[in-house]
Subunit: 399 residues, 2 copies
């Protein structure tokens, strides 16, 4: 037995996204960077904002004694204080550094939170479609992800959430702007959800946490805004990172913020710090904690994502591939078009395999909990998008 | 229910080390840095070698496009290749980058390995005393740590390991130089252990992995050397980091190396990459992967650890507190002395509480799986050690 059998099984059914990313590297080697349309991974191609680059250089040059050593597991006090300032602004509510735990990315944040709150058999409700990895994150800690359908426009379906709630529900996990749909949940929806969770908690004696995974909060279109969950629900936890808004996904810098209004805030913070330690993260990377303390409020320009969204939707319009108009993030969730030429499966897996023949890489929706759809990540150059038009049109025509 | 009950319980019985670290910060605020003798945490007080500091500055100044983005989960090819070179030298055996997975510290490395190889109920045998967190790391993935006694000089007791082996044994985990004893396992011991594991594998059909946790490999005294496990056992896995030898514990940069001679090497590497992803580490921090590719072979000077060991043992000799002479790392494992003045418990917990009254912080051995002993980490300034003499003598006299 080389590796654990359940891991062998999980790997074979595992995320297409990373496979695509690695296929993409191979295709690019073969056909040249220019000729591969790689929409597979949410790896921002924008460079980090200037303020971040400056902070990196300053921090390196400062060469502060002891700056690469351990700090308390939840992070440097000054970094936690900086994140608290950021959250205070976003939530329009005074938060202190004591309510923050720095984490190894938002993925590390979610794992620490799940480790802290889940008992074996506990459930985490998530509106589908959802980020592929949530299923693994819940399972890592004995929990089970319970996907529930959203409305046709991918907005929250409160009734479906209500039906899924039970004594086993430890948390409801939302992600707005959503990966893979780009949907932003309205304040009204969050208020309705909060009321539903409060009523459920009163009825059954176990009030679920509301976990808001917000790495795309800053990348938002049409003057929308992201509902401040701390305003609407006491037992709310925010997990996020600087991966997407500051284009730093490889640096693994994220955080957990617990609503100080929660009666269990101190316990959750302590348990998240503990979880961060015993899960082997130990602490968020020291260097980038120090960098972020310098530049958490750096200005970033997301206008190129708006342009890219417009370019890519224009391409798909031309090709005749339906999609949901994104309100934030940098993903376009597209519907597998009707077959017009050949017969065969109508799954997104089949369509994405078809696209690959035209050097287009997209990710089938099944992993996100939504069959018949696929995701295109448009955090790629404008040129790639424009150049992909012919490939998309040909692929559509020959489907 | 604020947090998961099993986590609440685990936290209350949790590592004294971190508690001490945080107590230390408080004591220093109260009495002044100068007057607290904090031997609690393995947080190297040496600065990183000059070559590392230069590499940090160079990498920051280079400001390479895309350098903060995602890379394949196992790490940058050039960083994996650099680590392979390092391992090839240490093991005197040619290793390629394909046999390396970069990790979030050695703690992240061990968690990825355990996730990859452990099925629920599997056991990991470890010679005691051992690093406190191993117990959590195994439990995170459904495994169970099985401590076995060592000989009086803390060398491996092969018979005890033999007795503990069973069909459930997934791995034997060794740590040389050892935390907390500073013991270095001899080549003969590793050869005997390898033969034992091979024989056990042949007899029961399940050959355990030999996992060598080697973050202290470079910090070694008396011209000793660390046995090259890849020479002696095919199914060997090395986990390590740059935390201790390069004084970078906060940066969370480690790695997994799998012996290419293992028939399951490719499977284990793939599973470790997968585990790194789904555990939410995703990848080792990008910036420090790039830094280490520049400076993995930087020269470091450990002579001050030798001096500190000599100073601290002189202090304890004077105070009359027995200890085991360390052969590597920067820990002194000490025996609780006989009480001569007051009556009461002879536990290391009681003695460490007693030491705290004299502003001395040490860690009781119970967490390391060895009652009646306690650990002093001497990665602190020479001055602190010298100044601690009066406090140790007084504490001993009044015990």
């Amino acid at each position: 037995m080389a590796i654990a059998p359940h891991i062998k099984e999980a790997m074979s059914g595992s995320s297409f996204i990373r496979k695509m990313f690695e296929d993409g590297i191979q295709l690019k080697k073969k056909f040249g960077e220019e000729n591969v349309f790689d929409f597979s991974l949410g790896n921002p191609d924008l460079e980090p904002p200037e303020g971040v680059i400056t902070a990196i250089k300053e921090e390196a040059a400062a060469d502060v004694k002891g700056s690469h050593g351990y700090m308390p597991n939840p992070g440097y006090p000054e970094t936690r204080a900086a994140i608290a300032k950021k959250i205070s602004i976003e939530q329009n509510k005074q938060i202190s550094g004591d309510n923050i735990v720095m984490s190894v990315g938002a993925a590390g944040a979610l794992n620490s939170v799940f480790k802290a709150i889940l008992s074996p058999g506990d459930e985490v409700i998530v509106p589908a479609p959802f980020f592929v990895e949530y299923r693994s994150y819940a399972a890592n800690h004995g929990g089970k992800l319970i996907p529930v359908p959203t409305n046709d426009d991918f907005s929250l379906n409160i009734n479906e959430i209500k039906k899924a709630l039970s004594q086993k529900t430890a948390a409801v996990l939302i992600n707005s702007p959503n990966n893979p749909t780009g949907k932003v949940y309205s304040d009204d929806d969050i208020i309705m959800l909060s009321d539903t969770l409060t009523a459920h908690g009163e009825a059954c004696g176990r009030k679920p946490y509301l976990i808001a995974d917000e790495p795309y909060r800053a990348i938002i279109y049409n003057d929308l805004h992201i509902a401040p969950v701390f305003q609407y629900y006491d037992d709310a936890i925010i997990v996020s990172s600087f991966a997407k808004d500051f284009s730093l996904p490889g640096e693994r810098l994220g955080y957990i913020a617990v609503n100080p209004a929660s009666s269990s805030a101190a316990d959750v913070i302590a348990a998240c710090g503990y979880a961060t330690r015993v899960l082997g993260y130990v602490n968020a990377p020291a260097f980038f904690q120090r960098v972020i303390a310098r530049c958490w409020d750096a200005k970033a320009d997301y206008s190129s994502y708006v342009n890219r969204r417009n370019s890519l939707t224009a391409v798909l319009n031309k090709a005749g591939i339906p999609y949901a108009e994104p309100e934030g993030a940098f993903y376009l969730f597209c519907k597998v078009p009707e077959r017009t030429v050949t017969e065969g499966e109508m799954t997104a897996g089949a369509f994405c395999d078809h696209l690959k023949k035209y050097n287009i890489l997209g990710v089938p929706g099944a992993g996100f909990g939504k069959e018949g759809w696929f995701r295109l990540a448009y955090c790629v150059s404008e040129k790639t998008i424009v150049k992909s038009e012919a490939a998309f049109c040909k692929a559509r025509k020959e489907w």
